[in-house]
Symmetry: C5
Subunit: 358 residues, 5 copies
């Protein structure tokens, strides 16, 4: 789980500058040291789940009558990925895209099958973590590559094991759809969390605007920028998938792909709504702060404006002129002076009240 | 009637994460506990209205020579909806969309007929409430699903009962148009209310800008965001409907659909106008507040700037120097000093007047 | 002549909510109580102008060899409009649009002919008034509907009477073009007036920014919003007209329609230019006001900052310490003290001058 | 040479309101009283240049084997233009466009040839002047209309005279291209001047922001608005020219037209860059002014905040209590008091320094 | 290495105004005095690298069975470029584009081959330098033109020498792709540097906003504007290349071109993300500065507001009334007065604390 950086999407390119195109180098951050492979093979009647070794003969995994889902966690072992590519006849440039975790979501159609790469988002305790998932979907097989162990596919595996729903009866294309659907459904959870943070921040902005909330708002803006960057191309990719005339996607699966497309549309609209709301929050902060500042300034104005004339009066009777009859009038200090002070103070307060400044 | 939330449209998705696609779960907020069904069957000569039970055989409702309108209020009884779907041959994914009340307005064409989902807006005492209405329109039947009892269709029912207008003579497609038209016509009422609030707020902004109006403006902005989100896809959906080559929509109904389309265009333009006006209101608030602040500051400036030199003069004659001939000059205090004070004050006021700061 | 309201375009819809589509109700504001009809029939040789009664047989007005222009001022007499529609075979929905004066400009093609609805703008003493004009153009006839008496068609009538130009020789389509052209030409007059107000406001903003100009600018913004709303769909409508393959528009008239289209483009560009300029005026106001505020604050700063140390000096020599040798030094007050005051004041003024704050 | 006005583009329309379409009236400002005509006739071998009279028989100017370029300076003599139009078979509406100098740049294709109207910009001592140039390009002739004498075509004439380049060998279409190219090339000079002013203003904004620079920036914004208005439709027109299938433009000339198109693209991009930069300048001004204001306010804060407590101390020892032992302590005034003053002043300065306010 | 100027893209046009189209003039800044030519000829088996003289017979360089890459550093020697153009049959307008270093990136297809012009960006110590690279790609040859010596092609040369990768086996089109790829890969390095600067500035904005960071932000904005101007047309050009049906680009190379296209998309998205982030930085600066200003103002408010009433009290007891009993009360000064002062000060501080202003 790592924080999304502004440099996401270009990180690691330095490593590649100057290499021949198609040279396989893992450009992501190096976290997972090893590469774990798991395999699920199934048909309508049976399901077989196994964890396999890096030195397996991948070519032997494909079987005519069963759908084979090979999942790879961790992209460091370039050699394994290279051999998988060879076994399934994947073009070098596509393998390069698998390894380049800064890839933007996209769909590519090749003769051997479809290549889909998307961002898998997960929300954990206020943190959104992003991981690139690539899928190669061919006739009878799905190969999925993830940056790290831990994913959102558990429900799909559960359905495969139990045989619930259509998944065991349908082909590799339906499995790929299920994986996509699981990823997209998780976006809603991420959005829900984000939405709740926005609502909380809005309340605080109205009540107690401080620099912390402002930093929060800037953070929200930033996360939104990155979400948009993940979701907009995702929509394009899924649209391309639903329009694709590749034989890999069968007619009966197409309606499901359209459904995922509707979900991405809904995600995008929610995101745009959030964006509009967050954009308005900076205005709210500014006006809230300036309202506060104004009420502080008003108090100063009032206190100062009342005391300045009073101080002048006191100053006048502190003068040392010989000929000041007021000074020797007995009732002047205890009565006259304080009455004057009181009159001026009350008069000004009344004036401010009348002007609605108070 | 509930306030529109920022999370509208994604709420309830959590419930669905991990379920097989097409699994029916009602994701809306749970308000209506029961599910009420009402049926209207009519042809040019006759109309029959009845409330039916949840355990009816829905398949028997379709009749060759009559149009059948089945209305469902409340989406909690998933079983009923499932059975309706079966009876009318509706795809699982469409039923899923019926239950998912965060759906964006859309039109879907299937073999069995058309599926339209829109937002029904109602304005009650300054509150805009939103409810999802889904319609399945087939050959000779319309099935409408609403989240709650209470709708804007009473005028359509009235026309069906009385036989006024074309509705009894025309088919299911015209009925669907009438329902859509009733929903869209209500948008105008919502807009009118909104427009009146905007005008009232504008007057208040000019005259007495305070934080309450500002909160109102932020509220207006928010409501506008949600209205746009309801109306823009609605326009798309109605456009798709008018362009659709589905046999369900007959040629003579198409001109009416175009008319609804024109209305949505008008709603969108009004909404955009409102948006421009509301966007300008924040600027108005800022400038209004800063104008107020400025006039307050000016008074401070003037009072302070006049009294500061006066206090200095008083301070000078409060000094204890032995050799201050002014202090012993008899006419100095009652005349000289006060003349000086008067001259300085009048001079400064004149200067400010001349500079147009007063 | 009435001020354009924010609710324009949705006003009156309430009256219609719940009515069957095609029911004729005049939704505009009720001003003109009666409905005046005037008729001009002409061919290349002859012109006949008459005012006709509401109970005329409208069907008899159409003549094979003459062009007939029927103008209706006032939309209150729904019955007359209904009978005109019947006589000329106009669809109910189109008549509904004629009566709905909040209609957006549009072109509709029907079998019987073309239906065009536009806004007729007139500028009178700084007020822009708007009126909806609908035209039904068929083979050999033009029917125009206006909300009120008084229009911009006098020059067209004059040309018809005198036989100047092509208008008498050409058909109904050319007449419709002439009417459109007259309306569009008047937009230029409206824009010119608007432009002059903008220029005047700009000068005042620079020289004497006050809340009145600001209100003016807000008013300009608002009027611009409504102008845009009238002109953009107008452009669409005229474009549709020039692209229309309706037999009503003959080939030789098409080039004139293109010319009107060019004019609307020019109007739109001028309007967008105005919008950019007006958008900049709010910035100008803010900076102008803040410049003013700054110069006021500067004077305060300078006066206060000069007198505060001087008052301190006076305060020091007002102290009652026994042992203050300065107080008993004879030249101290008339010379030393005032020199000190002078030095401090001049020193600070010099410092401010040096810092370019003065 | 005249300043570009906001009313440019609609000026003079008033004169035309109510006239029959195609009536020729010069709507530009009336500057040039007379109309000067010059003619260049050339083929690969020979060139003949002459100034001709207004009463020439224009029909006789066209020659089969020579290209004829007729240039008209000044649009006041409507009669001459009318006769030219007749001689070359130009449609009335096109002649109307020639005279209407508020025309937006456009290309029109007619049977007789092409009609192109563009803005010719010239930069003279910081002033940008604009003039409308219309060209009618037919088989073997180019007629160019200008508002005033003085143009950017001298280099083209020079090349015609000397026979340098392809121009003498190629046809009328290449000549038209050369004229367009000369006009577009001058835009670069205008942009360069504008760019230099922007750079100079930016430096001044950073160093000495005053209202004059601000007025400059507003002026720049305005000029940019008008430049955009000239260039964007120009691009469209040239694009239409390069895509036109008119026989007037031969295949070998098309590549040159594409080249001009690239130039307009470059002009547009530069203009958009300028716009972005100028848009940022208002922000720069605001922040620069507020930074200045802040530093002034800081000085006030510091001086006031230091002297206010000092004045209080002086005030305390100016009190007349009988029992103030400090007053009679001998070392108190010369030492104790001034030490206290010094300590407070230094303490506060230190505090401000520590807080980084100084 | 030179700083990017706002006038980039139009510089030098002045030199060309008035020249015949196709006249070759180098319009870039004159830096490189000489023109260096290097040649690499290779096939799958062999590679031959040489530096050649300006007076070579360029026509002889083309060989049937070898790919020939001619690189030209420096564009001053117009004669050499002219002769290269002649030898390889390049159109004059294309040579003109080679020399015009303000060209926007574009692809042009001619019969002889493809002409591609792009910007080569390099990041050196916080400075981004830009250089125009033009390539003419024909059957069996690539000619590249650079403004200066020094490029990003070293890795391509290395691969040619060593025979690593596909480059030696593939044709001229693959070589052109390799050069493009090397240029585009360098954009990532430039973006990475930019991204790091943005992140550093953001931290500083939050912590210590000063005018320097602001200038930095303005600088970043400016650089972004120029980057966009280089990258957006680049994307268009590469898209055109991948869609081009020129025989020069073979089918097996097309997939590589698509890969470069994906990279430019990624660059554009990163750039747009940066733009959004940088756009937000000005807001951050403003709010950060105003927060600072507010906290300074608060201290002033508090100090002034506390001392103003205290000074008034001191002023009162500095008055010279005869009848002021407090003055003669023994405990009044040491106890009563200071208690009063203490009470007022503590009361006000408490009030401010309570109001959360402190």
């Amino acid at each position: 789980m790592k924080r999304i950086s502004i440099l996401n999407g270009i990180v690691g390119y330095k490593k590649k500058v100057g290499l021949a195109p198609g040279t396989l180098v893992h450009v992501g951050e190096e976290e997972a040291r090893t590469c774990e492979l798991s395999l699920i093979q199934y048909d309508a009647d049976d399901v077989h789940e196994s964890s396999i070794e890096a030195d397996t003969d991948f070519g032997a995994l494909r079987k005519e009558d069963k759908v084979c889902w090979l999942n790879v966690d961790g992209l460091d072992d370039v050699d394994v990925i290279d051999r998988i590519g060879e076994a399934f006849g994947v073009h070098d440039l596509i393998l390069e895209d698998v390894l380049n975790t800064g890839q933007r979501p996209k769909l590519e159609e090749a003769e051997e099958g479809l290549f889909i790469t998307v961002k898998m988002l997960q929300a954990n305790e206020g943190q959104i973590s992003s991981e690139q998932v690539s899928m190669i979907v061919g006739d009878g097989y799905v190969i999925s590559f993830q940056e790290r162990a831990g994913d959102v596919f558990e429900s799909v595996r559960e359905r495969l094991r139990s045989g619930r729903g259509r998944v065991r009866k349908a082909g590799a294309d339906y499995l790929a759809y299920c994986l996509l659907d699981a990823i997209v459904d998780n976006y809603f959870a991420v959005l829900e969390q984000l939405g709740e943070r926005i609502e909380a921040d809005q309340v605080q902005l109205m009540e107690e605007p401080d620099e912390e909330v402002l930093a929060e708002v800037h953070g929200l803006k930033r996360e939104m920028i990155f979400l948009r960057r993940a979701v907009w191309p995702l929509r394009e990719a899924i649209n391309a998938l639903s329009k694709s005339d590749s034989p890999v996607i069968r007619k009966e699966t197409r309606i499901y792909v359209n459904d995922v497309y509707d979900h991405t549309m809904q995600i995008i609209e929610t995101l745009e709504t959030f964006r509009d709301v967050v954009a308005g929050m900076f205005d709210m902060y500014l006006s809230s702060v300036s309202n506060r500042m104004n009420s502080v300034m008003k108090v100063l104005t009032i206190i100062a404006t009342i005391f300045i004339p009073l101080s002048f009066i006191a100053g006048v009777y502190g003068m040392n002129f010989n000929n000041m009859p007021e000074l020797t009038t007995g009732w002047m200090y205890p009565l006259g002076f304080w009455l004057m002070v009181f009159a001026v103070a009350v008069g000004m307060l009344g004036f401010f009240k009348y002007k609605k400044w108070l």
